[in-house]
Amino acid sequence: MMDVSAAYRRYQFLGGEFLTWLWFVIETEPDSLRGIDPDLLSLEIGNRMVLERRPQRGGLETVTIKGDHAGMEEGLLAVRKGALVAEMNLVFTAGEHQWHFSLKGESLNISGLKVPETAPMESTEEVEGAVIDKTFLCDRIVQLVDNLYRRFIGLRLGSGWSETLVPRMRKWIVDETGMSTS
């Protein structure tokens, strides 16, 4: 295995590609996500997305899209100019329950995770039960992210990535931004 800190920098792009792929899948083939979690009802983009581009001349360009009903056109335009999704807020629905969280590409860190409400803790004796409930609910998202990432990495390291998936993603970007490739 590579040195961890060197690998963190070297493979930063992989996290951006993962989130960009996830956006593509959510928008174009959401039904394909059903196998990721047996109870998955939907996985949707939430109220925030950050895209980053590192121009060849150096530096970092960032586009942030915020708001509950924000249009994603600016994001797609940024992707068309070479940006990748760096961070996205997601809403996972399973049965009657919803989880909200943000996922960062370069670290796979989960932040702002809000799980379905559980019974309020009324005494210190109930701490154990609360911990068990909370870790179970957090684990749903950890498993979801793991399964999504495993599916992505299987595709990313296979020959179908550059032969089939990337052309389809390019077409999606072009179609959604309403511009020709020429």
Binding site: K104, E106, S107, V131, I153, V166
Partner: protein, 204 residues
């Protein structure tokens, strides 16, 4: 932003290594040996150690109190003295003025200024109470997984340092490369491809 907060942030790790049986005794011993102790040296600026999840200001790991279900649940406590820049500036300015008045000179040399800065910092640190920060840890020993409930870079670095020192095990942060490398579904050929991949161009 702890485990039981309404909104949590978590960083995931893989734990490499195993304890000899009985595992619980080894964990208890390592936690107790590296338990948080209050800052005794008034000039010290930082202290860190493990503490109890349920009672973080009175750490106690006896009686397997850190075990919940199949998990080891405890917290990392980091106490830091941070001196606000404006407070430092005020005391430094006063110290420089005092030295100038005493010496009758108009300027201090670079060395004198550095010494004054260090003196003011030391004096303020002895007076300033440390701010406690608590970060929860959930360790699933069987699954070799550890969740740290913070994404703060400095807190994660402190966790990694203290964990290795306490348990003599590697703590590997899961990020795109390591998550791919440790993916159980990835064949050896996949690892070879992973070693060579380059960024995709999504624009033609």
């Amino acid at each position: 932003m702890g485990l039981l907060s309404s909104s949590v942030s978590l960083t995931r790790y893989r734990v490499e290594g195993q304890f000899p049986d009985p595992v619980i005794d080894s964990v208890t011993g390592a936690l107790a040996k590296n338990m948080f102790t209050e800052i005794e040296d008034p000039a010290a600026s930082k202290a860190m150690g493990w503490t109890s999840f349920t009672d973080p200001y009175r750490p106690d790991f006896s009686g397997s109190s850190f075990i919940i279900d199949t998990l080891f649940v405890f917290s990392l406590r980091i106490d830091k003295k941070s001196i606000p820049s404006k407070v430092f500036k005020k005391h430094y300015t006063m110290e420089v003025a005092r030295q100038l008045a005493e010496s009758g000179r108009q300027f201090l040399s670079r060395e004198e200024k550095t010494a004054a800065r260090e003196h003011v910092m030391t004096v303020l640190q002895t007076r300033m109470p440390a701010t406690p920060n608590l970060y929860d840890v959930v360790w699933n020993y069987e699954r070799q997984q550890l969740w740290f409930f913070s994404n703060l870079k400095s807190a994660n670095e402190d966790l990694e340092t203290l964990f290795v020192r306490s348990f003599r095990m590697s703590l590997i942060r899961l990020f795109p490369y390591t998550a791919a490398f440790f993916n159980p579904d990835l064949p050896d050929t996949g690892r070879d491809v992973l070693a060579k991949i380059t960024p995709t161009r999504f624009v033609e």
